[in-house]
């Protein structure tokens, strides 16, 4: 796999010229914890530069699903998958694919903000790059600046880049820092597992705006428990129930005129 290119102007370069391209294809994906099958054959296509929201009741397999996309799932002992996940035409589960390199293409933001507590804000942003061997100081400086600017954190922390630890920030700021850390390695896809679940309402709105903004440069797949959030930010919505994909389509259509009875019941709050 090619080196990750460092180019600070890249954020606006992708733009929407390639709208409509299928970035990621999931084909008949089954996921297991030991013998227990928790995803029962899911197929879905994700379009480049779109935001897809994944909704569904607790335990339906949302986290499991997005963790199969960056091959984090297999790190759980006894966990495995069947099926295919194809990124830009390449099966990421092909025996010759290196999961470490796959993960460089597919970044992730977690439910609980997890900046590295022993690193400064600066080092948190470039942790991935530095550990992957990039050491050019001026380039790193520039990436820190553009990335923090991108997540709207630059003004707030400019003075403290080296002085404060990542964990000295507020929860919402920490989550934006984690987003900065994820996008600094220039992935193609950003996965988010309930990125606002532990945040207050105003931080949540900031992150939601940021998600829309990120979709200009990245393909975003985000799990959310919050139906309004899915409606507000996403282009497509995927409804999972008990490990099955029940409905997947344009967000507006899915919320206004769902095809499936279960979907309707769920979005109108009758269960879950």
């Amino acid at each position: 796999m090619s080196e990750i290119k460092i180019d600070s102007s890249v954020f606006s370069e992708k733009k929407s010229s390639n709208k409509g391209n299928i970035k990621l294809q999931v084909e008949d994906l089954k996921a297991f914890y030991g013998k227990k099958e928790v995803l029962h054959g899911i197929s879905a296509d994700f379009v480049e530069n779109e935001i897809t929201a994944i909704i569904g009741p607790s335990g339906c397999g949302k986290s499991t699903f997005i963790r199969t996309i960056n091959r984090l799932h297999e790190l759980t002992r006894g966990a495995k998958i069947e099926g295919k996940i194809v990124l830009d035409g390449y099966d990421i589960y092909d025996p010759s694919a290196n999961p470490v390199l796959v993960r460089r293409k597919i970044g992730m933001v977690f439910q609980k903000p997890n900046p590295f507590p022993n690193m400064s804000i600066y080092n948190n942003v470039v942790a991935g790059l530095k550990l992957q061997g990039h050491s050019n100081g001026t380039e790193l400086d520039e990436i820190v600046n553009t990335t923090l600017e991108k997540v709207g954190l630059l003004e707030e922390v400019e003075e403290d880049l080296h002085r404060k630890k990542g964990t000295d920030l507020s929860g919402g700021q920490q989550q934006r820092l984690c987003i900065a850390r994820a996008i600094a390695v220039r992935p193609d896809i950003i996965l988010m597992d309930e990125p606002t679940a532990s945040l207050d309402p105003s931080s949540t709105l900031i992150i939601e705006d940021l998600m829309k903004d990120l979709s200009k440069d990245f393909t975003v797949i985000a799990v959310t428990h919050n139906m309004q959030q899915a409606a507000r930010v996403s282009d497509k919505t995927m409804f999972l129930f008990n490990g099955d994909l029940i409905e997947f389509g344009a967000t507006r259509k899915l919320f206004e005129k769902p095809d499936n009875h279960l979907t309707e019941q769920y979005i109108t709050g009758r269960f879950g």
Binding site: L75, V100, F110, N114, N118
Partner: protein
Amino acid sequence: MAERNQKINPEFFQSDRNLRFRLFKDKLMFYVTGLCLLLILVPIFGILFEVFINGIIGFTPDVFTKAGGSPLDPNTGLLHAMMGTFYVSVIASFFGIPLGIITGIYLEYYGKGFFSNILRVGIDSMVAIPTIITGIVVFALIVLSMGSFSVLAGGIALAFIMIPIIAKTTEEMIRLVPQLYDEAGYALGLSESQTAFSIVIPLASRGIASGVLLAFARIIGETAPLLFTAFFSQSVPNNILDVSATLTVLIYQYGISPFEAWNRLAWVAALLLMLMNLGVIFITRVIFSENGVRPWTRIAEIIKIAFGGVIGEESAKEE
């Protein structure tokens, strides 16, 4: 209470009586446990006080500058034993710290197969083996084959005591680092070893370091394994192959001797040892306690741990 003038539901009244009884029990327990604490603190302070006073009484500058000699010679000191203790603890640390940490990392990251299970059982039983047995094993393996007692053999015996303690704390401390940091590393496209060595182990480093210091505090107080290995002598060791006194063995040798001058020096050695121990524990606490902890809370903790260390190894294990 504020609603006195209103009607009282008999059930509420009932529960109020219960509450008063519970408050009474609460108070009673407070005094009972306080009394127990006092019962424990008195002998602890007694020991510390006794060592301190006797140590001060026996103290002269010669202690630091003169080696041992005849019990009738008034100009002898503890230099030989201090150097011996210095040598054995440096040698023990030289082998014990890296091997202990590496073993701990190995157990946490690769400790899944048959060999690792044997290693783990071995480490667990090493912690429980009486240290005198460690001493006699090192005696058989090293002292007998090299033909003489030496500080090297003493250091190796102590290293065997350090390794399981450090290995277990290292393993435990790495395990305590929340999974979310591992996952953050993997999600950034770092390999397993990069995640381990650049993220997780640094996050555990404080804990690992305090494990190392506690193991160190533990070995400077060891006597039994040194009796078979470094043994005892009245002169300062010239190199690591020399036989040598150490503070603990000297306390034993001088303490049971009939000579008053030697008894006096034994007390001084006891004081030195105690101060070293407190010092190490103090460093552990101050450097490695969480940021933002009040100094007083720290000192209270230090005292707690220090006393625990004097009485037994209970608190060392808790740490």
